[in-house]
């Protein structure tokens, strides 16, 4: 049991900064409304340090306040998918030794998403932040389908080529389109009885490993992921499965 609260300049002071816009013309009353609003949110010691008109009928506020809420970090479980990543050589070695053939990987920006930079960073030869992409690994055969790939097409491709891993990217998150697409992919794979045959990986700036797990994926990778994180995960998971 280890409760923590936001830290301003003293342990457990609960200090938090907030900012927001209210659709009202600015006035001292608007400042007071902002103060009461933040109070109603459950904060104490509410200081509206900035309140001003940003348009005829909109006001912007900066607030500092204290929250009574604490969280028991010992109860928060969020296993990371990127644990002690192996080097490219080690991954290739692992695959060579324990699988003995190239692993087939297919990647795509699914749904209407056209943000390929992220998944390309993981797949393309040149890689990301000085870390080589999966295409460069001897242990992988990579198919990068690119952008705006319909889920059906991705699943068909996976079946036809009998791939070992599916990498799906979602960068656009508006109106929950990312969740919807990831879910649809996982469900279609289930329906097609392919789910347990592939390592299913999600990625994107708002993706967390926890979220991916909830959506029925084997792993999720977010901001700042480097290719070797992903390579390591896939190789290990395939090996585990083979072992099981």
């Amino acid at each position: 049991m280890s409760l923590v609260k936001p830290y301003g300049d003293t342990l457990d002071d609960g200090a938090v900064q907030l900012s927001f816009t209210l659709p009202v013309a600015w006035s001292e009353a608007a400042d007071e409304a902002a103060r009461q609003l933040v109070g109603k949110m459950g904060f104490t010691d509410v200081a509206v340090v900035e309140g001003r008109a940003i348009a005829a009928s909109f006001s912007f506020f900066v607030v500092y306040a204290r929250t009574p809420v604490a969280i028991d970090v010992s109860q928060v479980h969020a296993p990371s998918a990127t644990r002690d990543a192996l080097s490219m050589e080690q991954v290739d070695e692992l695959i060579h030794k324990r699988v003995g053939r190239k692993l087939k990987i297919v990647g795509a920006c699914i749904g209407t998403d056209a943000h390929t930079v992220g998944i390309d960073a993981i797949l393309n030869m040149k890689g990301y932040k000085g870390d080589y992409g999966l295409e460069r690994y001897r242990g992988f055969e990579v198919f990068n389908l690119g952008s705006q790939i319909a889920i059906e097409d991705l699943v068909r491709f996976a079946r036809d080529r009998d791939v070992d891993a599916i990498l799906a990217s979602q960068v656009v998150t508006q109106k929950g389109s990312d969740i919807a697409n990831f879910t649809a992919l996982a469900e279609l794979l289930e329906a097609e009885h392919l789910r347990e045959r592939v390592v299913l990986v999600a990625g994107g700036p708002r993706v967390t490993n926890l979220l991916a797990a909830e959506l029925g994926f084997d792993a999720g990778f977010g901001r700042g992921t480097v290719p070797s994180d992903v390579a390591t995960f896939i190789a290990r998971r395939v090996v585990e499965r083979a072992a099981a």
């Binding site: 900012s19 927001f20 816009t21 940003i54 348009a55 005829a56 009928s57 909109f58 912007f60 209407t112 056209a114 390929t116 930079v117 705006q148 656009v172 508006q174 700036p205 901001r223």
Partner: protein, 514 residues
Amino acid sequence: MELRIDHAAVARARRLAAAIADPIEHFIARSSTVSVERAVARLCGVDGVDNDGVPLPNRLVDALDRRELGVARALGAAIAETGRTPQQIAQAVAAGECLPDPSRTPETALRAALRPHADAGLARLDASRGARDAMLARLPQAEPPLLYVIVASGNIYEDRTAAVAAAEAGAQVIAVIRSTAQSLIDYVPYGATTEGFGGTYATQENFRIMRAALDETSERLGRYVMLTNYASGLCMPEIAATAALERLDMLLNDSMYGILFRDINMQRTFVDQHFSRQLNARSGIIINTGEDNYLTTADAVEQAPAVLASQFVNEAFARRAGLPDAQMGLGDAYEIDPDLENGFLFQIAQAQLARQIFPDAPLKYMPPTKHMTGNIFKGHLVDAMFNLTSVMTHQTIHLCGMLTEAIHTPFLGDRALALENARYVMNTARAFGDEIEIKPGGAIERRAHDVLAGAVRILDGVAERGLMSAIEDGTFADVKRPRDGGRGYDGVFAKDPAYWNPFSDALFAQAVPA
């Protein structure tokens, strides 16, 4: 602040760009597309949709049995025979009637029959241009850099609220971001729309709604607030036509964006961009090119020469469409990794280089986007250095960067913070660029020199192989596009010797040789 630049290299680059554009221009002169024809129909007064929501301009052009003659000829003939208006004719076609065979009507007669409608169309173009000039004279804008922000809710009514608020917060140009990939739709949606994806559909009604709100706001604020949208895509000419009619002030209009970033057929794009720019020229609309796209998909330091090369190509095509330099919003963006040591010096070098090479162009400067993260505090600082670069190098159209760029399409409050950022930095450092000199032979000048040399190298290669082959080989943005592949190719056709387009004739008159 002045860079000593290699004027010979600049002249060379322009010669190469001309050598690149001219062969394409010959092809353009021989060709037309369904979207050019639909634009002609719209300018003659055809608008609206059929019962299935298909735009009448599409119904009409699809109904042509000899499109190589041009829709104008068919319309003229139909008017001569039936005495109907172009709109009535399109409605009849939509109702199932077929168009009369144009060959039945003598050339002079059909031209005479359409002329008043074509003239009316041009008159509307000229009228809205006149209205803009009058408003600008009465409600002058603040000095450039013109502060430009986007609205992108997907709902035109929310966009209107956001746009008016942004103008009140200091915005001088409002862009309604288009629902994504509208560029791939081979028709212009109709009516007011409230559902869009990452943006709001570009429709004539949406243009009208936004323009009306901004006119009212301009009067209230005493300064003209500009409106912009996107043309590039499968409907470049039609959007150029509707934008002209509804008095938009700028349009995203790039001669290669659709090809490279949307896999639209290159022949289609070349023909379309030409006619759309002729319309932009006539209606006084400033085009914005899309060089920023090279930087978001690849390394910004490496791509700088490609950006400059593309600017030269866009300039060459624009001039050949009769577009004056004062309407060429050539694009660039502040996309170098913020953690690169001395990256700021590179940005200054590149921005100043473009400023000196295109002295009369209203350069469009795009903010940092790719390297923005969820760290809004740092992002706000990167935007500040971008704002400083812009005011120092006298950029013209300044897209304000959003501290939440990596998170969501802008909130109303984000825009206010972005405008405050630009105002603060540009005011405290207003004359800074004019009060310093760039060290001769220093890192800034060397960078500018390298970028220019690199651009010449690229143009050289392209001129040699020809633009179409160069694009096929993946010279731009590392994407290869086959000459006869990509979207909208079936909408391209060779003109019949008897082809007639009353507008391109009229507009061509203006064209200035580069």
